[in-house]
Amino acid sequence: MLVAVVTALIAALIAVVVIAAVFVVRARRSTPQVGAKKGVSQVDTVGVGSSSFARQSAAKAARDGEVTVSSSETSANAKPSDGMTRRFFGLGILSAGILGVLTTKLWSMQILDNSEYAHAAEENLYTTVNTPAPRGCIYDRNGVPLVINRSTQAVLADPEVADNRDVIRRLATVLGLPANVVAQRIADSSAGAQSLRVVADDVRLRDVAFIAEHADAFPGITVEERSEREYPYGALAAHVLGYTGSPTKNQLEEKREGRDLLAIDTVGAAGIEATYDDVLSGDHGERLVMVDAGGAVVSVMSETQPSKGSDIYLTLDAKAQYVADKALADLIAPYGVIGGGKGTKGAVVALDVRDGAVLVMSSFPTFDPTNFTGSIPDELWEIYRRPTAYAPLNNNCISGQFMAASTFKAFTSLAGLEYGYANEGSTWNCTGKWDGFGSGDVQKCWNHDGHGTLDLHGGIVNSCDTVFYEIGKAFYDHGPEGSGEVSETAMQDYVSQFGFGSQTGVDLGGEASGVVPTPAWKAETFRNRPADGVWRGGDYTNLVIGQGDLLVTPMQVACAYAAIATGHVMKPHLLEEVRNGQGDTVVTYQPEVSRTPEVTESHLNYVRDSLHDMIKESHSVAPLFAEEGIDAAGKSGTGERQDRNDTAWFVAYAPYDDPKYVVACVIEDGGGGSDTAAPIVAEVMGALFDSENGKSDVSIERLPGSTGESVEISVDSGARTD
């Protein structure tokens, strides 16, 4: 219809142009005839003719003010245009030239460059507005929800509302925000010029209803359902789950592959949220809208709904996790204040020794990620940064580095056995004091009275330092300083097979490597104080009992004890499986052996047996496991530090004859390992078996985050007890 009208119009126009042209041509044709007559008249008339004489005289006459222009009949045939033929011609050329240049320019714009301009016109007209997608949820191995989404009501404003003071004032009143904050949020275009501006995130339904009922008073204001992270159990497994935040500038610029990150998104900032951000994040909804010059949406052309991210099932056992989290909190800060109980920092790690699945990863002090949705509140951030808060955001299980203390003796035993510096028949005499190097610098066994004569088994069970001093000395005596049979790092290399000194590779960020000191490491570390950087025999005797410069993470200790139980170091992992929106499992974690230490099976069995007896023969520890009905093998540790309370360790695996789980616990400033850490290990181990047998009566409750408060802890000067 329209095309027909336009075509008819154009046809009519062309027809008229032709007709006009014909008239013009006819008019032109008549001119030469006139010209011919003029030619004749020109000779004998003095008019406004073309001869220069005539013109000059006419001009002269004109100045005299007496001229008469074409007053006679004959001269009237001469026209003023006759003398101007060249200028007429020139003007005609100029007109044609102007119209021609315009036509050419328009031709080049409309025909040659059409696609460019058409594209620009479309870019003007259409804008894609993205809507954030809900993130996937996180569950424990049994489907207990750990992170879910809560739908919230967000109040959004059209960018134009920024100019409407009345609406801003009303919004401020309803939402209980200062008017300048409201105005500032509406003016913030960081999410895109056409995007609606978020005035408030999580608005009470009552306020939303008020806005909806008085829509006339709130032009340009809409309410949209958004999703926000919710943590049903508060601080439970907070360090594993992590938290989310708005993307940083760097993240937005980075343009990670497979992740279309926009400013409107939330992005994992720590923990599983960060590690598996790509899995958890969904696909944006897209709205293709037509806009006008002011940016107002005229109509929505097409719309795709956002699709939720995939859900993650973790290897964690929420009930055992709860037991561990609660045990740490009750031990360290029974009234919410660190220093009110025993210790300042703590960590519990439980693994399935068979596949490296992390069943419990508990760290204290902790935090409640609920407080971190959106952004971390400044006040809380200030409190948590203080040294007296003991770093609640730090995951002590993988980022915390502690002295290993006597838990390390299991590995130095194996080293001694492997190198033949100890065997089943070796015996040593412990007097409580040891000066094997004859330097006069006497080292003591924790039992100052001495253990008397014992073999390696007895040395492990009683944790006799003297026995291990001898083994350490043997490495020194056979090293480069002595007979030179073994390298100066023979012991270190051996224990490193169990994963000490390197990251375990668990699927969380921020993992520490720990330190296994070597002569080279010491020289490098003390390069500014060379006198202290000299490697001495004492370094071996310190290392052999897990003291000195050795640093380990609880995760390393748990993995290494799992290796004693099974012979393999497994790569620990938290991801069990990924399920997509339809509930189909799309990824299942495949267990991975990260190391297989070269160790003789008989030596391993010797150490296992010793660890078994350590628990059985300990007056304080044995009842803990007996109560749970668990036949465990393990080792306590008590790390001595200058002017600080001891670091308490306990690590155990069970069942002894068919190992399934390993649990490691460390409490900094906690005192004796058997007293402080062992009960927690036993309790968590019990919870794991209960869970496995379906007998668990644990009901998970919401746990609070740390307050960040602490009191000074008194230093217990009493001697080590293990």
């Binding site: 336009v6 154009i10 142009v17 032109r28 006419a58 026209k79 315009l102 409309q110 058409a118 620009a120």
Partner: protein
């Protein structure tokens, strides 16, 4: 003024002769004074223009299409009156025309009468409705310039006389620059130039005048650069040319420099034209104007609406109509039997040509941006009426020949 030559005889003899000729010749047709090609071309241009104007004002409350239609009717009536009026009666009124021009152009400065219509420049007056006297003055400027130059009978080769004429022709321009309205002023200059060239001024003088004009423009910029003062750090205010005039000029020279301010208008105008393609997007489908990307769509940028809706085909149709209009006018000029009539037509041609060049040229980035309307198409009451009056004048020149005109040649 007294020294100016007088054209005594034109009126008495010529008009008398014309009446005599028409009465004496063979039975004249009833409408012998009509000029069908001119009427047809103008009729088509107006119809086409109204269609585009109608589509451009859709959804814009600021503009009223009925008002535009009313102006076309007023214009038609005036056209008929002027057509029948013997223009030669005005030939000797040079001084009166000059006075009329000065009064008209300066009238917005009269307190109580002038209004700046919120546009900054004082170019509007309010008499019942808002009109732009500067637009109406285009008619009187043409009559004045033609009358002035016609006195020299087609030969202007005395330096002193030439300078006097140029000086007198500059009066309307200088008056309109007090508003200030550079665009209209340039139209006056175009009219004066066309009249001067066709009035027989010596070619050398014309070239020297052109060179002096260019030098004067350069001098304005040079002096401006010396007179500028800093309003705030990095911000300069110029005294001779306003900042917006400068930015319009520089945007034309460097269109990508500022895509948010003046460059925005130009960029959007070009997008509108370019996206039209061969056949256009169709009537009322011009997204650039209906969605407000194109500012001032019905007035200064109306050509963009046409180009976007009807494409290159529609553009060529319009340019062809303009070409036909100018051709018809040229033929009227050639057929005119006295210099005054011919120069009137040349003045009109000069004006239209310049406005077409400037309006379309600025839309596609060939010319600096100024607010000059497109004849017969742009929304605007004053200019629409002026155009009809000018068509009437051309008709009057064509039909009031002392000798039997084209139609009445025996």
């Amino acid at each position: 003024m007294a020294e100016l030559p007088q054209i005594h005889s034109v009126h008495h003899h010529a008009s008398h002769a014309a009446h005599g000729a028409s009465s004496r010749s063979e039975r004249p047709s009833l409408f012998s004074w009509l000029n069908p090609p001119l009427l047809i071309v103008v009729g088509l241009l107006v119809s086409y223009g109204l269609l585009v104007c109608w589509s451009a004002v859709q959804g814009l409350e600021k503009y009223s299409f009925n008002r535009q239609l009313m102006c076309v009717l007023i214009g038609l009536v005036l056209m008929v009156i002027v057509w029948r009026f013997d223009y030669r009666r005005l030939a000797n009124l040079t001084t009166a025309l000059l006075a009329l021009n000065v009064i008209l152009i300066l009238s917005p400065h009269i307190p109580g009468l002038g209004t700046d219509a919120g546009m900054g420049a004082k170019s509007w007056i309010k008499v019942g409705m808002q009109v732009q006297p500067g637009e109406f003055a285009k008619v009187t400027v043409i009559l004045y310039a033609a009358s002035l130059v016609a006195r020299y009978g087609g030969t202007l080769d005395d330096v002193r006389e030439y300078c006097k004429v140029v000086g007198l022709l500059l009066v309307p321009f200088l008056c309109v620059m007090t508003q200030p309205d550079l665009g209209t002023g340039l139209v006056y200059l175009a009219i004066s130039a066309a009249v001067l060239v066709m009035g027989g001024a010596k070619a050398r003088y014309l070239l020297i005048t052109l060179a002096l004009g260019i030098a004067a423009i350069a001098a304005v910029f040079a002096v401006d650069e010396l007179l500028k003062y800093e309003t705030s750090p990095g911000q300069y205010e110029y005294r001779l040319l306003k900042n917006y005039q400068r930015s319009r000029l520089f945007v034309f020279l460097n269109p990508d420099a500022d895509l948010s301010g003046d460059g925005y208008n130009l960029a959007q105008a070009k997008i509108a034209i370019g996206s039209g393609g061969l056949f256009g997007k169709g009537l009322l489908n011009a997204t650039q104007s209906t969605h407000g990307f194109l500012p001032e769509a019905p007035t200064d940028f109306v050509f963009c609406v046409l180009a976007e809706e009807f494409g290159f085909v529609g553009v060529v149709a319009l340019i062809a109509l303009y070409g036909a209009l100018i051709a018809v006018c040229l033929s009227v000029a050639r057929g005119a039997d006295n210099l005054y009539g011919m120069l009137i037509v040349m003045g009109v041609i000069g004006m239209w040509l310049f406005q077409i060049l400037e309006n379309i040229g600025m839309d596609c980035g060939l010319m600096p941006i100024t607010g000059i309307p497109l004849p017969f198409v742009s929304y605007g009451s004053s200019f629409m009426i002026v155009n009809f009056v000018l068509v009437g004048l051309i008709g009057s020149v064509g039909s009031h020949n002392s000798v039997s005109g084209r139609k009445a040649t025996p």
